[in-house]
Every structure is written in structure tokens, then in C-alpha cells.
Amino acid sequence: MRVLDKRTRFNRRNFLKTSAASVAAAGAVSGGVVSIGATPAWAEGLTAIKPDAAKTLLVMVRDLYPHDRLGDAYYEKALASMDQAAAKDATLAGQLNDGAANLDAAARKLRNTPYAAIKAEADRVTVLKSIETTPFFRKVRGDMVVALYNQPEVWAKLGYEGASAEYGGYIHRGFDDLDWIKDA
């Protein structure tokens, strides 16, 4: 059966340039959890979300929807879409920046360290659960489940092909090519 090549095909620099927020992506940032010390370049490209909040939010969004084979770029792009909305909505900007600060405060209370610096995912999840009912959490969760999974680049990684009409549908492209069930 026709399976998909899930290898990354885009150039990270161009990918971020094409994101709505046109985040300045100078240099390569390694995948996984961002380092805590310096302000990463992508976060400086945000307009409404402050750099410290951005670092916290990036880890939060990864923890909400953890996909180990997805680099940070996909999560950054999702966050950039929320930054774009917050740039036009001061209430939302305040909610995101304050929310990130409160998440760090909760992390300090429970684990004596800022959220993004907590090493174990399970410990961060414990902190997240403590704020699960806040409007901030619900807003980030609800917006990110759309923004993260609405990226064609993410679809390719998960094995979804997106639009098909322009390719003539699947009638000649494997709609019935399942071959692992006998006499199906």
C-alpha cells in the first residue's frame, strides 16, 4: 500500500518566514525543549507575547500536545498565530503574559523552579494540572489544538495528505490499497 514519506521537507528558516508572524529565525535552534538562559531569536520576533512568557508558553504547548518527532518550529508557528491575535487584542496579550507568569509562579510553588526549567515532563504536567481550570489554560489549550494541528507540515508528519481533489482524489492513489487483511 502507498505509505507516506514523513521526513521533513521544508527549510526551517523559510518555514518560519512563511508563518503569519514572520518570525525572524536567525541561526538554527535545536529541537526539543529550548534552553533557558538566552532569549531565543524566534521569541524576539513575537510582538505581543513577551520573551520570558514565550519561553514558558512554548514548553507549555509542547507539554499539552507532545509529539517527540516534531521539532519546536511547529509549536513556535502555532504560538505565533496566537501572538498575531494578541497583537490586536490587548486583553488577550495580558492574559497570555500574566498566564505565563502565573504558570511560572505555580511551578516555583510546587517545584521551586520556573516552569520551563523543570526537567521531567511528568513534573511539568503536575504543575499544568494545577492550573487546568483557569481561563488562561483553557484559552491556550483551545487555540493551540487548532493552530498546531492545522499546519500542513504537521499533517505530513502524522501521515495525513490534506487536500486531494486537485490530485484527482484517491481513486487511483490508494483509496483501497490496504493489503494486510486477508480477503478484505
Binding site: 507516506l4 489549550r141 501521515g159 495525513y160 495528505e161 483501497d176
Partner: protein, 523 residues
């Protein structure tokens, strides 16, 4: 030559809504030489406008006007302002329906007699029998080109169907196939054959799936007897001193108000807007709403017992390739109270793309348990469970006490509590759905809660007796003889089958009745 009728032309039939009920009725009447003005709240998006993109399409065609919800159903928690997932566009929900076209079973027209007095349910027999409906089902299937009828071959099964069918076979189910679908398996009626595009819910890009948008409506327009006015939001139905309806007040896309006079009015705005319109049309003569002497307008809201089972396998499935609803197991749609509930349910394949899977798989969920399911997206097979839910007087559409729309009219609230029978049926269906997939080696199954309602039914129900319902066996209001209801809101009970075929069959039948009554000067 497309007709254009004057606002003061009081000889026209005004049909409100252009979906399965309104679009079909409009064409059927036009074919008989009857003048029709069809008012559609949404815009006219043609096939070339449709997009293979779930969220983009959702913004393009969905009914997104604000609604509120209440009651214990989970939709009220997860989607408090989206009780229903239906379409606001010419063609109505036939733009996004999956195409399943099943006849109701004989006993389902006799729900009260068959199921007995179910506590907490407001069951009633239909004033129509299967025998009376059969000739109209024949006409509907022929019109829609339903596969498995009229010598039309069934569609080929896709990967999602192959998994379902293999599981069904292993469990010993006997009635499973690729369904009775109003999707061309070969060219017919000027439309091509299915290209297995997927995206049936987003508007069929090949036109293989029947929709009133590109079948009934242009055919009706070609007679010169039908004028369709898109972006026409009906606000009120008016009546004369004798209590006969005589005009419809609507707003156009600019917000300007118009009053279209009418000889007859047929309401087909789906089961939330139709009762809302009758309630908003209250007057001194009809203080509780138009056609509401029974008090049943807005009550008995049904939305089918639904749920989904998604199963993961160690090998790929790519369920999204091909028709969204690609096959069915019918064995559980029988009446068999030994299972612990009355009524039955169908098991139908369903697939969602990644964006909707993320939104609907387990709304509100996060963390590894959730994301690991999406990591397995291309290894997932899925089915939708659709069964008969119990009508309840308290499950109802009402006018919101304080919130108003942009025209100053109260928005609708949809209150719903699952009946214990619905819950027992859903539990059973989840179990059988999992068993189907376990039989072919599923490594994990997920029970997905009901989506916002696509099958909205019952809020202007048919009854033999005027005190029990809103309309008679022809969909004619008990209280107002030139007022008709032509959508799924006239259903007396929900049955286990997808409702569109029955809506279309009822509309064809209603057109015959209206023409007969007009010729006899009864209306």
C-alpha cells in the same frame, strides 16, 4: 430562464430553506407548474468554491450564528455555542452530508406501539406507515441515485471499510456492505462518478454526491417557476385576520427588510431554526408561537444517539482516503430489547482529517494520552454510531431570555439530556464497535463522545391528533392549513437511520399533497 417574482405576488409558495426538505420541495412544486420563492439564509457557494480544508470549509459553509446550550449533554460543555454542525448555504446540509440514504424500518414508524411506554420519553407513533412511504422512498432513491437501488451498483470499499468489514465478518455480523449512498458509483443524471476524494463533509468537489445545490435547485430554476434568494434570513411569518399565513418578513445581505407575500409557506430551516421561527412569529392570535396550540413547537428535540469508535492498528489504514462514510454494519439496527434498550443503531465508517480529529477525538483532552493517538493518525480506522434516541418534552429549542441576534430577535437555546435508553444504547454500541476492531487486531480503541449534532430532528413533530404535535401526516400545521413544515423537524421519532432520505421522500409526498390541495382550492 430563472424566474423573478414580485414581493406583492401573493400567489407564490414561499419555501424557507433550500436543503434536503426545502430544496426538494421547491423543485417538486416548480416541476408541477407551481410558482415558488425559496428563501435561503446562507450564500450560494458552487462546487468550484468548495475547499478540501476542514477549518476553512467550516468557516465557509457552517451555520455559525450564535446559539446557546443547556442540559447535561457533553456538547453543552465542549461546544457551548455550537449545538449543531449544519450548513448555512444554498443546498443546506445536503452540501456537507455524507450521503447515507437508508429507509426507516416498519416498526420505527410505530415507536410508541413497538417500544411501549418508556418512562421519561414522549414517544408517539407516526401518522404515516412504511407502506405509505414506500412509493416515495422509491422516488427519492431514484432522484438521488442511491447505490444499491434502481440497479445502481454500490461504491467500492475503501481502506476504512476493509477494516470494518473484516471485523464484522469475524464477529458473525451478516448485513454489512458499502451502504446505500446517494453518491454516483457511475455517471448518472448529468453528474460524474465518485473520485474517492474524501472531504464529503466539505462539499463534494466532483458533484458525485447528491446535493440540492446542483440537482434540485437548478432543475427547479430551469422550469421558470422557481426563484431562489440566497442571503435571505427569514425573521417572521405573518398571518391574516383569519389566521392563514400570508407573508414572510426577511432581511437581505445588507440588512434591508423585505416582505414577500405568499399563498402558502413551507418551513424547512432545520430543527433549530424552524421552531425558532415559529416561536418568533408569535402574535396576538397565536401568543405561544405560530402553530403551537399543542405546546409542542420546539419540544422533542432529537439528535440521534451518537458516538464514534476510533481504533489503532500496527499497520497503516489511511482512513481519510475515499468517501467519508464508506460502509455500514446494519445488524444492530434491529429491535431487540434483550440488549437492554429499545430501538437500534447503525455502525457506519467515518473519517476525520487531522484538524478535526484533534478537535473532536476527545474535546478538552491534552497530554500524551491524547497526542499519542494523533501520532498514530495514519494507522486509525473509525466508525460512527448512529441510533434512535428518545424524544423528550424537556429536550427542546426555546427562545433565549435575554440574548438577541443582530436583527433583535431572541437567539435559540438548545437543551438536551440523554435519556437512560440513549446511554444504555451508546454503551452497547461502544462495546460492539470496539469488538469489531479488536477482532482484526486493534491495539487501542478510543470511544469518542457525540459531535455537535448533525441529525437535528423532531421539534415540529407530526401527529395524528392535534394535541400531540405540530403538523399532520402531510407536514401541514394542525392550526394553520396553509403552513407546512418540510424538514426533519416534522419527524415523530428518530429511527436508527440517517434522516436525509426520509426528509426527501416526505418532501416529494408533501409536494403532491400541496398541489392536490391547491387544485381543489383547499389552500
Amino acid at each position: 430562464m430563472v424566474a423573478k417574482f414580485a414581493m406583492d405576488d401573493d400567489s407564490v409558495v414561499v419555501v424557507i430553506g433550500s436543503g434536503a426538505g426545502g430544496g426538494t420541495l421547491s423543485n417538486e412544486l416548480a416541476q408541477k407548474g407551481i410558482k415558488v420563492v425559496c428563501l435561503e439564509a446562507g450564500g450560494r457557494h458552487e462546487i468550484q468554491d468548495f475547499v478540501n480544508d476542514e477549518w476553512k470549509s467550516f468557516s465557509q459553509i457552517s451555520w455559525l450564528d450564535k446559539r446557546t446550550t443547556s442540559g447535561s449533554w457533553r456538547v453543552a460543555k465542549d461546544f457551548p455555542n455550537l449545538p449543531a454542525w449544519i450548513v448555512k448555504a444554498v443546498g443546506g446540509s445536503t452540501v456537507h452530508w455524507a450521503g447515507a440514504s437508508l429507509r426507516f424500518q416498519e416498526h420505527e414508524f410505530k415507536a410508541r406501539t413497538t417500544y411501549g411506554a418508556v418512562e421519561g420519553a414522549n414517544l408517539l407513533d407516526w401518522p404515516v406507515t412504511l407502506a405509505e412511504m414506500e412509493p416515495y422512498y422509491d422516488k427519492a432513491e431514484f432522484k438521488m441515485g442511491t447505490t444499491g437501488t434502481n440497479g445502481i451498483p454500490r461504491l467500492p470499499g475503501n481502506n476504512n471499510y476493509k477494516v470494518l468489514a473484516a471485523g464484522a465478518k469475524k464477529l458473525g455480523y451478516s448485513e454489512f456492505h458499502t451502504g446505500n449512498m446517494s453518491i454516483n458509483s457511475k455517471p448518472r443524471d448529468g453528474r460524474g462518478a465518485c473520485q474517492q476524494i474524501g472531504f464529503c463533509f466539505q462539499g463534494c468537489k466532483s458533484g458525485a454526491k447528491w446535493s440540492t445545490l446542483y440537482t434540485e435547485i437548478p432543475k427547479g430554476e430551469a422550469t421558470g417557476n422557481l426563484e431562489v434568494r440566497p442571503n435571505a434570513q427569514v425573521l417572521k411569518i405573518e398571518h391574516d385576520a383569519k389566521g392563514k399565513v400570508n407573508a414572510v418578513l426577511y432581511a437581505d445581505s445588507t440588512g434591508a427588510m423585505h416582505r414577500q407575500k405568499a399563498r402558502i409557506v413551507a418551513v424547512a430551516g432545520n430543527s433549530i431554526e424552524s421552531p425558532r421561527l415559529l416561536l418568533n412569529s408569535a402574535s396576538t392570535m397565536f401568543p405561544d408561537g405560530l402553530a403551537n396550540s399543542s405546546g409542542q413547537v420546539g419540544r422533542n428535540y432529537m439528535r440521534h444517539m451518537t458516538g464514534s469508535v476510533y481504533a489503532m492498528f500496527d499497520r497503516p489504514v489511511h482512513m481519510y482516503r475515499g468517501t467519508t462514510m464508506a460502509g455500514i454494519i446494519r445488524d444492530e439496527s434491529r429491535f431487540d430489547p434483550r440488549r437492554g434498550f429499545v430501538g437500534g443503531y447503525e455502525m457506519e465508517t467515518l473519517s476525520l482529517g487531522v484538524p478535526f480529529m484533534a478537535a473532536f477525538l476527545d474535546p478538552g483532552a491534552w497530554g500524551r494520552d491524547f497526542s499519542s493517538a494523533l501520532d498514530a493518525y495514519d494507522h486509525i480506522a473509525g466508525m460512527w454510531l448512529v441510533g434512535e434516541d428518545m424524544p423528550r418534552e424537556t429536550n427542546r429549542v426555546t427562545l433565549h431570555a435575554t440574548e438577541k441576534d443582530k436583527f433583535g430577535l431572541p437567539i435559540p437555546n438548545v437543551n438536551f439530556d440523554d435519556h437512560p435508553n440513549d446511554i444504555a444504547m451508546r454503551t452497547h454500541a461502544y462495546g460492539r464497535g470496539s469488538a469489531v476492531y479488536d477482532a482484526v487486531g486493534a491495539t487501542r480503541t478510543i470511544h469518542t463522545p457525540p459531535y455537535p449534532s448533525t441529525h437535528n430532528l423532531g421539534t415540529n413533530r407530526m401527529s395524528a391528533n392535534a394535541r400531540d404535535g405540530v403538523v399532520n401526516k402531510w407536514g401541514q400545521a394542525h392550526d394553520v392549513k396553509n403552513l407546512f413544515v418540510s424538514d426533519g423537524s416534522q419527524f415523530t421519532s428518530g429511527a436508527s437511520e440517517n434522516p436525509t432520505l426520509t426528509i426527501v421522500a416526505l418532501a416529494i409526498r408533501q409536494a403532491d399533497y400541496i398541489a392536490d390541495q391547491m387544485s381543489k382550492r383547499e389552500i
